[in-house]
Amino acid sequence: MTTNFTGLGRPVVDCDIHNAFASLETLVPYLEDHWIAYIRESHFRGPGANDYPGGAPTSARQGTRPANGPPGSDLSLIQKQVLDPWDVEVGILACGYWVQSVHNEDLAASLATAVNQWQIDHWLEKDARLRASLVVPSQNPILAAREIERFGDHPGFVQVILPVRSYSLYGKSEYNPMYAAAVKHNLAIGIHFGGASSLPPTPVGWPSTYIEECADMAQIFQAQVLSLISEGAFARFPELRVVLIESGFVWMPAWMWRMDKEWKGLRRDTPWVVRPPSDYVREHIRMTLQPMDAPINSEHLLQMIGQLDSDEILMFSTDYPHWHFDGPDDAIPKGLSDSLLEKILRENARTFYKL
């Protein structure tokens, strides 16, 4: 498999670039003494979701591993392999450091603060093209709101990032403080593939294999979308903007049909849902392009994009360093009109993130 890091020859906004670090040592300069002692004494190594197993082919494209550290840990390599060749005007960093799986909520909050300061120091201040996602201890929405208050006015942060595998569905009112803070600071909510909530990732228990868990991830996104709408998050926060990152998008049309059909029969249960659920999707929710989950027949993929009934939903992403495509040829759907392509490559993200 040849790895081709050339871009499209036209500018893009990349909505999913992963920045990472080798070990908890990276955060030590940002942690209070008692946490450093705790980490040293316990040999705690940080949250480990293993949602991207180190050796899995999908976790990193060939050639993305720097000399020191994991893929995504070296800014100069990211510049060389993504930002420069893809002519990235704005690159959104999606830091998947899931403090949500640290059950000591105070430690989780301190780790989040440390990661966010590290992102400012090592990423945002080093390349003006970059924007970042705030890591927050969303298992405790009050602490999450506090973290948003701490950094929410920093112009480099454009969203709060949450793992799709939560312990509690994101539509619930327990998240009100977190969403209120996000809306107040003009931040989007990014719900991202992965996480480790301690709950099984399916309604039927634990899958055996990683590949199964990856395929299953789409139905957790479906649960979150239905929860956000039916449990009233958009009713409580009309300005709430949500992007599903690395969710795949081909499942969304049928999911909208299903939600709309159910709503017709059951809307008396949720009177705050005053329009068909698909309206809320098109108004509040965006989806990043990769993985495309593309069928072999490229016409079918175009039909799926048409079935979204909106040109505003999709936003380009490389999902660097994860492996979904081999080069520019298979990085975007074939046969899009130029105006729709331009929306997907740049305009939708510019509007959504208010860039």
């Binding site: 309604p203 228990g205 199964e212 299953d216 789409a218 649960a223 059951l266 249960d269």
Partner: protein
């Protein structure tokens, strides 16, 4: 009964399509005295237990359903809960719609019991009740064989006891299980199912091991009812990626009341992940979508209602499973699909005929 002469319908432009209904409920799953229409058939050793302790299920995940018994307002018979009265059902469903056959799917609490032996006793009771009060009384009816599927040995014992009865055409599982159904604990059941030539029917519902989503508890019935495809998707990924169809090439799975709009996108997703992570599942010899198209059947209700009717035919083309879709009403439930409405977006009459009756006729070996 199927030969009874009926009044000539008012308008009939074309030859009328036969109808086989693949999802009729004579038992509703929520355990209460009103729904225990099978109780007289309970094995005597379990009767006292049933009357004293009964019904320890993995409860706590359900939302109240919109209406009593989740039933149509007009489906309440003169006695007993909706669906449980043969004469009323015959008149309201089989006769009205001139159905060739109907498949009974009893939504019993057998599979969800924590006490596995008690669950197996319920399964026996439901099966004996179905033979005596349904299969022997209307030759248009076939039934699903209830099994306590969370214990393979108990399920296999029931298959060996009744699997040869001509009235039983498939096994009855519920979609929300304790483990994904591809896992080894269920394999003995599949071995027996293939031996007895019984497909695995997996129906909407059930109580699994945790919350009804992969991300916690849901608040509203729309999340429970509307969220059911999530469980079905997880079952499909499990069957395929666990290699069940390599191990049991004759195994057939019928997904009942899960909808079907999600399956083409899932096939694409599964194929793409497989192309990249093949090394993790080296026992697979074909693309996931190939296993799915060969081994899975889907009933139509609740039929997809796309925002644009043109999308419906796109969806059928994407699925490429015209030979695997089977019409169902879900009688007596509130979200009943009517035979004259459900497939109105299918323009190809041959495809419609396949879906309305012929696919089921072939799968279940009906005349």
């Amino acid at each position: 009964m199927a030969m009874t002469m009926l009044e000539e319908p008012k308008i009939r432009k074309k030859e009328k399509l036969s109808v086989i209904d693949c999802d009729i409920h004579n038992v509703d799953g929520y355990q209460s005295p009103a729904t225990e229409v099978w109780v007289d058939y309970m094995p005597s050793a379990w009767k006292d237990y049933h009357l004293s302790i009964a019904g320890r299920r993995r409860a706590g995940s359900n939302c109240p359903r919109a209406v009593p018994f989740a039933a149509r307002n007009d489906a309440f018979p003169p006695e007993g809960p909706p669906g449980s009265h043969l004469g009323f059902m015959q008149e309201q469903l089989l006769d009205t719609w001139e159905m060739d056959y109907g498949i009974l799917n009893p939504l019993s609490p057998a599979g969800g019991q924590q006490n596995l032996e008690y669950g197996a006793a319920i399964a026996q009771a439901v099966n004996e009740w179905q033979i005596a009060e349904w299969l022997e009384k209307d030759e248009r009816l076939r039934a699903s064989l209830t099994v306590a599927y969370e214990d393979a040995d108990l399920a296999v014992a029931e298959i060996e006891r009744l699997g040869d009865h001509p009235g039983f055409v498939q096994l009855m599982f519920m979609a929300r299980t304790m483990e994904p159904l591809g896992r080894r604990k269920y394999w003995k059941i599949y071995e027996a199912a293939v031996d007895y030539d019984l497909p695995i029917g997996i129906h909407f519902g059930g109580t699994g091991i945790g919350p009804i989503t992969g991300a916690g508890k849901a608040a509203h019935y729309i999340q429970d009812h509307g969220g059911m495809p999530m469980a079905f998707q997880a079952q499909v990924t499990s069957y395929v990626y666990e290699g069940v169809f390599e191990r049991f090439p004759g195994l057939k799975i019928v997904l009942i009341e899960g909808g079907f709009g999600w399956i083409a996108p899932l096939m694409w997703r599964m194929d793409n992940w497989y192309r990249k992570l093949e090394m993790e599942v080296p026992y697979l010899k074909r693309l996931p979508s190939e296993y799915i198209r060969d081994h899975f059947y889907l009933t139509t209700q609740p039929v997809e209602e796309p925002s644009d009717p043109a999308y419906f035919e796109q969806m059928l083309a994407h699925m490429d499973m015209d030979d695997k879709l089977m019409f169902a009403t879900d009688y007596p439930h509130w979200d009943f699909d009517s035979p004259d409405q459900a497939l109105r977006y299918v323009s190809d009459r041959d495809v419609k005929k396949q879906i309305m009756s012929e696919n089921a006729r072939e799968l279940y070996g009906l005349d």
